[in-house]
Amino acid sequence: MVMSRDEVFEKVKDVLVDALSVDDDEIKPEATLMRDLGAESIDFLDIVFRLEKAFEIKVPREELFPAENILNSSELVSDGKLTEKGLAELRERLPHTDLTEFEKDPDVNKLADLFTVEAIVNFVDNKINAN
């Protein structure tokens, strides 16, 4: 399946509108799933299931939303901030996400802001157009 990035965005938008009961115009590339769109933890799984169906792909959950495992490790988190090792781990697990801003102050509370609409579009775009 070859899709343009705009087509991927439109389809991701439909998924998020349905999964989070938000309006079309709230889905902007820079919108964060939790803060801007009100997603809760179960919504992330709902989004994964819906993406799999909409794009006919397999989405191992830790690939798209891998931060939870990082939070549980004392080696990767210290004083509420990601350590150098934690950041390296995050970079490896989120190759589709721009971490430049986050790295300036790697507060774990800001991890949620990394899950943007754009990050999902990047992920899906990569997944379907790489195959």
């Binding site: 349905d18 179960i42 799984l45 709902d46 299931f49 959950r61 939870e68 549980n72």
Partner: protein
């Protein structure tokens, strides 16, 4: 005591789909107030009936070893009232299932007429992301379910074996 809101299963395909039946009666006291002179089954309780049907289907798929909790109502659309005397069929299907959760889609049908479409998500709460701990005992699936599944098990070659729900 568990609050059971479906009467029995009439079809059960392990890990795939199930159909349960509920008979609605004016002996259910809440119908006297909902509404006086116009008794209709509350739509929230239609969702509960679907949650029990789909929840047992999801639980059986993992041999009743997981604690299956309703986590999200993805969709609930109603096309007609359910009234005393009605027999409703709850058709549930597993769309996705992972170690952490499951998504189901369902239809409520009365005499071949579509009454509602209800899609749900369930969490396997011992696998929760926050690492929270819950009591070891499976408080979701207790022996009470046996009677619901008994008839359908006798009449079909379902994969459920006796005693699994005792875990």
């Amino acid at each position: 005591m568990r609050w059971i809101w479906i009467d029995k299963f009439i079809e059960f395909r392990s890990g795939e789909s199930a159909v349960a039946v509920k008979n609605v009666t004016l002996a259910e006291e809440h119908l006297h107030d909902h509404f006086p002179g116009f008794p209709v089954m509350p739509e929230t309780l239609c969702i509960e009936a679907m949650a029990q049907t789909a929840g047992i289907l999801v639980g059986e798929a993992k041999n009743f070893e997981e604690k299956v909790i309703l986590a999200k109502i993805k969709k609930a659309v109603f096309f007609d009232y359910v009234k005393p005397g009605d027999t409703i069929e709850l058709h549930a299907k597993i769309d996705s299932i992972t170690p952490e959760a499951a998504g189901t889609s369902g239809k409520i049908i009365r005499s071949d007429k579509l009454i509602a479409e209800i899609d749900l998500m369930f969490s396997h709460i011992d696998q929760n992301l926050a690492g929270k701990k819950f009591p070891k005992e499976n408080f979701v699936f207790t022996g009470t379910l046996e009677s619901l599944l008994r008839d359908v098990l006798l009449s079909s070659a379902s994969s459920i074996k006796e005693g699994k729900e005792q875990h």
